[in-house]
C-alpha cells in the first residue's frame, strides 16, 4: 500500500488547532474531581464489597446482586455529606484511619454502613497523605505487575501472527455463556475478545460486583467477570500459543473505577471515550471529561490500549457528509489522550465502514477515509469498525458487505479490525454468526491480504482527492471550534458530532462533580502523574 502524502503544513495546523480546541476540556479536568474519581482512589487502595441496596433499581432484576451499592459509593457519599468532595476523599478517609477511628478501610466502611463514621479534614495533612499514598501505591503496584505479566505472556506465547488484529464481541448477558463463546471465538482466530455491557450499565453511578448472568444485550462489567474472562482467555491462549487480549468498556458514569478494575485484572484494551457517553448516553459533559482524564491516566500506567468512539457518529450522521467530523474528533481525542499520558501505540482511534453501500463508489470512498486516518495517525493502531447502520435482514448481502469491509481493512493497514456480523440488523450475534464472520475475515486476509502491494491510489485520483477534501473540511471545522472560548464543549452543544446536541449542564451525573479546593489531595493522581510528567 502506497499511503497518501498529506501536506505536512496542513497536518501541523490541524494538530495545533486541536490543542486549542481541547484546552478548555483539559483545564476543566485538571481543576475538578468526581465521585467516581474518588471511588477509584478507594478501589486502588483495595476497598471492595457491597451491602444490599435500598431504593431505585436499574439493570437486572430487583434485589439482585447487580443492584447492591458498593462500599466505595457509601464511603464517598458519607465523606461528601460531612466534609464535601472538594478536597478529595483521601485526606478525610485516611485521617480517620491514622487518627485511629478505624483500623482500616473495611472497618471504616462498616462504620459508614452503620452510620457511625465521622469524617473531618486533618489539620496536619501529612500523616493522612502518607498513609493514603502507601495504600494507593499497593493498587498501582498490582497494575504494574499486571502490565509486566502481560509483556511476559506476550513474549512467551507471542502476539497475533499479523495485522490487523481480529477483534470480536461477545454479548450473551451471562458470563458463563460468554466464556465458551469467547474461547470458541479465540480458537476460530479472534485475537481480541470484547465483552460488551448490559444496555443499562453505563448509566449506573456504581460498578456492580460479582459474577453476573442477567444482562440485556451485554454482560455487566464487574471485577469478578473481568477475572473470570481473563482466566478463560489465558487458558485458551496457552492452548493456542497466542496471547488473547481482553477488552471491556470504561465509558459511562464510572470511567475511573472501571479503568482501575481493568488495570487490576489485566485487561488489554478499553473502550474509553467521554464523547460516546455524552452523545449516546446523555451523560453530563463536565462529569465525564473529568472522569475520562483520570481513567486514561490509569490506562496509560496499565499499558492498556484505548478505543475511541468516532465510529458511532456515523450511525446517526451521514458517513460522507460528516466524514470530517470523525477526523476532527480523532485529532481531539489524540490530544486529550496524550495529555493524560497515553503513548501513540495506545490510541485505538475509531472510524467505520458506514457509507451507504448503494451509493456509487462507496467502497472507494471508504478507502479514502480509512487511508486518511492511517496517514494522519501513522503510529496509532486505529480501530476499524464494520458496517452496522446499512446492514439489513438480508444476511447474504450483509456477509458480502463484511467481506469488503475486511478487504478495506487489509488494503489500508488498519490495526484493529472489529469483526462484522451478518446478523447485525437482526440479533446480538449468535455463536454461528461469529464463526462465519471469522471465516470471512480469514478468507479475505489470506487470499487478498497481500493486495496492498498492488493498491496504489494515484495522486490526483478519486481516492486522493476525496481524502484531501475531508482533511480540508476538518481543518475548517477545527478553526471554528478553536475560535470559541469553550472550544470542544461548545461544539458538542452545537450538535457538531453525530448530529446530537448536548449542553454542558445537561445530562446525567453533573451532581457528582466538584471543583477542587486549595489543598485538595488525590494520591493516585500524584503517583500516576509522577511517571509521565
Amino acid at each position: 500500500m502506497s499511503g497518501l502524502t498529506l501536506d505536512p503544513a496542513l497536518v501541523a495546523r490541524a494538530r495545533e488547532l486541536a490543542a486549542r480546541a481541547a484546552a478548555p476540556v483539559v483545564d476543566l479536568a485538571q481543576t475538578h474531581t468526581t465521585v467516581s474519581v474518588e471511588r477509584a482512589v478507594l478501589r486502588l487502595a483495595g476497598l471492595t464489597g457491597t451491602d444490599p441496596v435500598t431504593g431505585e433499581v436499574t439493570g437486572g432484576r430487583a434485589g439482585e446482586q447487580t443492584d447492591r451499592v458498593p462500599w466505595v459509593n457509601r464511603v464517598v457519599d458519607a465523606v461528601r455529606e460531612q466534609v464535601g468532595l472538594e478536597h478529595g476523599v483521601a485526606l478525610p478517609v485516611w485521617h480517620a484511619i491514622t487518627s485511629g477511628r478505624a483500623s482500616g478501610l473495611p472497618e471504616l466502611a462498616e462504620q459508614v454502613g452503620a452510620g457511625t463514621a465521622r469524617f473531618t479534614l486533618p489539620t496536619d495533612p501529612e500523616p493522612a497523605r502518607h498513609a493514603a499514598r502507601a495504600a494507593v501505591s499497593a493498587g498501582i503496584a498490582r497494575i504494574d505487575a499486571n502490565r509486566a505479566r502481560r509483556e511476559e505472556l506476550v513474549t512467551q506465547l507471542g502476539d497475533p501472527p499479523r495485522r490487523p488484529w481480529i477483534y470480536l464481541i461477545v454479548a450473551t448477558g451471562d458470563i458463563h455463556e460468554d466464556v465458551p463463546q469467547a474461547q470458541a471465538a479465540a480458537r476460530a482466530g479472534a485475537d481480541v475478545i470484547a465483552v460488551i455491557r448490559s444496555t443499562g450499565q453505563s448509566l449506573l453511578d456504581y460498578v456492580p460486583e460479582g459474577a453476573t448472568r442477567t444482562g440485556y444485550a451485554g454482560t455487566y462489567a464487574t471485577q469478578e467477570n473481568f477475572r473470570i474472562m481473563r482466566a478463560a482467555l489465558d487458558e485458551v491462549g496457552a492452548e493456542l500459543g497466542r496471547y488473547v487480549r481482553l477488552t471491556n468498556y470504561a465509558s459511562g458514569l464510572c470511567m475511573p473505577e472501571i479503568a482501575v478494575l481493568a488495570g487490576l485484572e489485566r485487561l488489554d484494551m478499553m473502550l474509553n471515550d467521554a464523547m460516546y457517553g455524552i452523545l449516546f448516553r446523555d451523560i453530563n459533559p463536565r462529569r465525564t471529561f473529568v472522569d475520562q482524564r483520570f481513567s486514561r491516566m490509569v490506562h496509560a500506567r496499565a499499558g492498556i490500549i484505548i478505543n475511541t468512539g468516532e465510529d458511532n457518529y456515523l450511525t446517526t450522521a451521514d458517513a460522507v457528509d460528516e466524514a470530517h467530523t470523525v477526523t476532527v474528533s480523532q485529532l481531539l481525542n489524540e490530544r486529550l489522550a496524550r495529555e493524560a499520558g497515553l503513548a501513540d501505540w495506545q490510541l485505538g482511534l475509531g472510524h467505520a465502514f458506514e457509507i451507504d453501500p448503494d451509493r456509487r463508489e462507496s467502497f472507494r470512498l471508504e478507502l479514502a477515509h480509512a487511508l486518511l486516518a492511517r496517514a494522519l495517525f501513522p503510529d496509532a493502531p486505529l480501530k476499524w469498525m464494520p458496517p452496522t447502520k446499512h446492514m439489513t435482514g438480508d444476511v447474504f448481502r450483509g456477509y458480502l458487505l463484511d467481506g469488503f469491509f475486511n478487504l478495506a481493512g487489509a488494503l489500508t493497514g488498519q490495526g484493529i479490525l472489529l469483526v462484522g456480523m451478518m446478523t447485525e440488523a437482526v440479533v446480538t450475534p449468535w455463536l454461528s454468526d461469529r464463526d462465519l464472520a471469522l471465516r470471512n475475515v480469514r478468507y479475505v486476509l489470506d487470499a487478498a491480504g497481500g493486495l496492498a502491494e498492488d493498491f496504489a491510489p494515484p495522486p490526483g485520483g478519486f481516492i486522493d482527492r476525496r481524502a484531501h477534501t475531508v482533511l480540508i473540511e476538518a481543518v475548517g471545522l477545527l478553526e471554528r471550534i478553536a475560535d470559541h472560548p469553550e472550544g470542544l464543549i461548545q461544539a458538542i452543544a452545537d450538535g457538531t458530532f453525530g448530529i446530537t446536541k448536548r449542553s454542558p449542564d445537561g445530562g446525567k451525573g453533573l451532581d457528582g462533580v466538584a471543583r477542587l479546593a486549595p489543598g485538595a489531595y488525590n494520591p493516585a493522581l500524584e503517583l500516576l502523574a509522577a511517571v509521565h510528567a
Binding site: 470458541a184 476460530a188 444485550a217 448516553r281 440479533v427 455463536l431 464463526d435
Partner: protein, 253 residues
C-alpha cells in the same frame, strides 16, 4: 401455482416447495450430527432434506462441541393466503397538509404528541426518524406538521417519568420506541408501559403507540397498547393513524 390462494415456496419450479435453512446444534460434527440435523429438518416439514454443509464450531482439546448446518429441501406445508392475517391499514394515508387540515377543522386545537425511548434503550434513530423534521424515506417527521405539537424526550426515559410528563403536558398520544429485543426486553417494557398508564390514568390515558424493527404489528392488543409499528414505518403512516384514532370524523361544533 395450484390455486390462487394456496401457494408453496418456489425454488425453480412452481410448487417445488424449496427452502434453505441453517442452524447450530450442540453436538460434535459427524454422521450423528448430520442425522440430528435431518431429524430437525423433518420436524420442520422439510423432506427429503439435504444436509449440504456442516462444520464444527469451537472445540479445542475436547474437539468441537457444536455443529453448524446448512440444509436444503422441500417443505410439505402449504401456505393459505386467505388465512393470512395482515394488519391492513384501516385508515387512509394522508399528506401533511391533509393531516393539519383535519386536526385544525375537526379537532380545533393542536394535537399533543410525546415521544421517547424507554428503559435503557438508547436507540433514538428510529423515533427521531418518525418525529424529527428530517424525517425518513423522504417524508418529513411529525415536527414538520403545523398542527402537531411534538416533544421528543429522547432515550433512556423511565416509565414513571414518562407518565408524569404525559399528564403534565396533557399528551394526546405517547409514542415509544423499543429497539433492543434481547430476552424480549421490548415486549416486557411495553407491557410495563401500558400497565403504568392504565394504573395512573385509567380511561383517560393518552393513545399509546409503540414501534421498533422487531415488533409484530399484530401484537398491539396483546401488549395493551393501541397500535404497534414495525420496521420501515414512515412518519406519514403514523400521522395518518393519529388523525384516524384521535380526530373526530365529524367537524366539532
Amino acid at each position: 401455482m395450484p390455486d390462487g390462494t394456496i401457494v408453496r415456496p418456489y425454488g425453480d419450479t412452481t410448487g417445488d416447495g424449496m427452502v434453505q435453512t441453517s442452524f447450530t446444534l450442540p453436538v460434535p460434527p459427524g454422521p450423528r450430527a448430520d442425522g440430528a440435523a435431518l431429524q430437525l429438518a423433518a420436524k420442520m416439514g422439510i423432506e427429503p432434506a439435504m444436509v449440504v454443509h456442516s462444520h464444527g464450531i469451537g472445540g479445542g482439546a475436547s474437539g468441537a462441541e457444536f455443529t453448524f448446518f446448512v440444509v436444503y429441501g422441500p417443505v410439505r406445508h402449504l401456505v393459505d393466503l386467505d388465512a393470512v392475517q395482515v394488519e391492513e391499514r384501516a385508515y387512509p394515508l394522508l399528506s401533511p397538509s391533509e393531516v393539519d387540515a383535519a386536526v385544525k377543522t375537526r379537532l380545533r386545537r393542536a394535537l399533543v404528541v410525546l415521544g421517547a425511548c424507554i428503559g435503557t434503550d438508547a436507540h433514538t434513530v428510529g423515533i427521531d426518524a418518525i418525529l424529527n423534521l428530517k424525517g425518513f424515506a423522504g417524508e418529513k417527521g411529525l415536527e414538520y406538521y403545523r398542527e402537531l405539537q411534538v416533544t421528543n424526550l429522547g432515550a433512556q426515559v423511565s416509565v414513571p417519568d414518562l407518565v408524569r410528563t404525559a399528564r403534565a403536558r396533557r399528551a394526546d398520544a405517547v409514542l415509544v420506541s423499543q429497539v433492543v429485543t434481547q430476552k424480549d426486553a421490548h415486549l416486557r417494557n411495553t407491557r410495563e408501559l401500558a400497565g403504568a398508564f392504565r394504573e395512573a390514568m385509567g380511561e383517560s390515558r393518552p393513545l399509546l403507540v409503540v414501534g421498533g424493527p422487531r415488533f409484530d404489528p399484530a401484537m398491539a392488543a396483546d401488549l395493551g397498547v393501541d397500535k404497534v409499528f414495525g420496521r420501515g414505518t414512515t412518519p406519514g403512516e403514523v400521522a395518518s393513524y393519529l388523525v384516524h384514532a384521535l380526530v373526530p370524523t365529524e367537524e366539532t361544533t
